[in-house]
Symmetry: C2
Subunit: 232 residues, 2 copies
DNA sequence: ACCTGAACACCGTTCAAGT
DNA sequence: ACCTGAACACCGTTCAAGT
């Protein structure tokens, strides 16, 4: 994955010198500002006042760079304090919520998440924490990976869809909720996406963002209840 | 979305003439053969023995074309027979399994699914069926969309990850299981992706594909149990 | 060790023009 | 109504060369 051993960031490095950290910093700034679609090697190089090809000394290719960026945002995810003595279910919900929050803040990362392996140090840190949480559950060890996959595959799917409304709305200058309503109204009789007006009334005057939050937490509760209920 | 009204496929159309159906057929063939990454307007045009720009008479842009392709594969998903009188839970499991099967068969479609709205006629057909199934559950109507979202967001997340192993393995000439094992062995102490050998032994000599199937169905059971158990 | 220049083989899309 | 040619403004990456 990494093409070169990380050179020591010793005192020799001048201020304007290119190095991995400066590259990743610029990378994250560009991705947050413009998204993955508008990101390119050439733009990143321009942003660093450097020739496109100089990047290839630090990195094998574009995918490599995106994997670095993805692991960097994984580092932003807040982990629950294991010493706080919370119920394992609460810590699992905290992990899911923190993951969702970071990915909604960096939609480009969510789009990369499905493409790469995600085995960088920050991703491992997150996974290790998740494992420690599930290990405090009453589930037998044979179910640990099943349970974690269930929760985070759901969280991933949920967040991809949520992000699609937010980004789609932003693209046409609407909020996620306005965009959702417009699309929903254009498709009548579709389950799960049925007439937005009816859906809003059913849910008692909540905003769509509040409904999304409710659904997210309710489904987590369903999963946790399901996995702890039956011996199966 | 569609740039032009669909012209009648009347008897006037010659054999070699370009039309929407011929375009979509070639599109699906190319996507299945080479994937989204290698697909381009120019390759599609070449495949149809036509100039790239002629495609733009039938379609607004590349995204338009991919939305058409995505809806076309949605038409391949087998729906349960509503008259068969199955338990609603079994029909929901059938829907989830059929969705997964079609998406694994067309990995490019899975990658597009997160990007587009998916409100074409075939997607609507699928959604309408899902709604009919959940309507037979004991859940109150206010929970229908929550329940369907929960299931299909999970199924989406599961299938994206499954597809990543299959595609990643194929790219380096390995099976999904070999690829998974190699990656797992390269990352020690990671929960959910921990040492493949240990995981396989724990699960009693099953192949990874069998373990994936087990996990998929078990999680569906957890979700269904969770949503039907508590009044919440 | 680190960076550049020129080049290769591509992209999606616009626009004016042909038939 | 349907299709083309030429052009614009891009891509990622290789390779040989500079310092």
């Amino acid at each position: 994955m990494r093409s070169r051993p990380a050179r020591g960031t010793g005192p020799g490095a001048g201020a304007g010198a290119l190095d991995r950290d400066r590259i990743v910093a610029a990378l994250l700034r560009l991705l947050d500002a413009d998204g993955v679609d508008r990101f390119s090697m050439r733009r990143l190089a321009a942003d660093l006042n450097v020739t496109p090809m100089s990047l290839y000394w630090y990195v094998d290719n574009k995918d490599d760079l995106l994997e670095l960026a993805l692991d960097a945002v994984a580092g932003e995810i807040e982990l629950p304090d294991p010493a706080a003595g919370h119920d394992w279910r609460d810590d699992l919900r905290l992990l899911a919520t923190a993951w969702r929050r970071v990915m909604v803040a960096h939609p480009w990362a969510l789009r990369c998440y499905g493409e790469y392996l995600n085995i960088g140090p920050q991703s491992v840190r997150f996974a290790r924490c998740a494992r420690a949480v599930i290990a405090r559950s009453p589930l037998p060890p044979t179910r640990w990976s099943t349970a974690l996959s269930a929760v985070f595959q759901y969280v991933y799917g949920f967040t991809v869809m949520e992000s699609r409304w937010i980004e789609g709305g932003r693209a046409i200058g609407r909020t996620a909720d306005e965009f959702f309503s417009e699309v929903a109204d254009s498709v009548t009789g579709v389950p799960g996406v049925e007439a937005a007006g009816g859906l809003l009334e059913q849910r008692g005057g909540l905003t769509l963002a509040q409904i999304r939050d409710q659904d997210f937490h309710r489904t987590l509760d369903w999963l946790i209840a399901g996995m702890t209920a039956a011996p199966s």
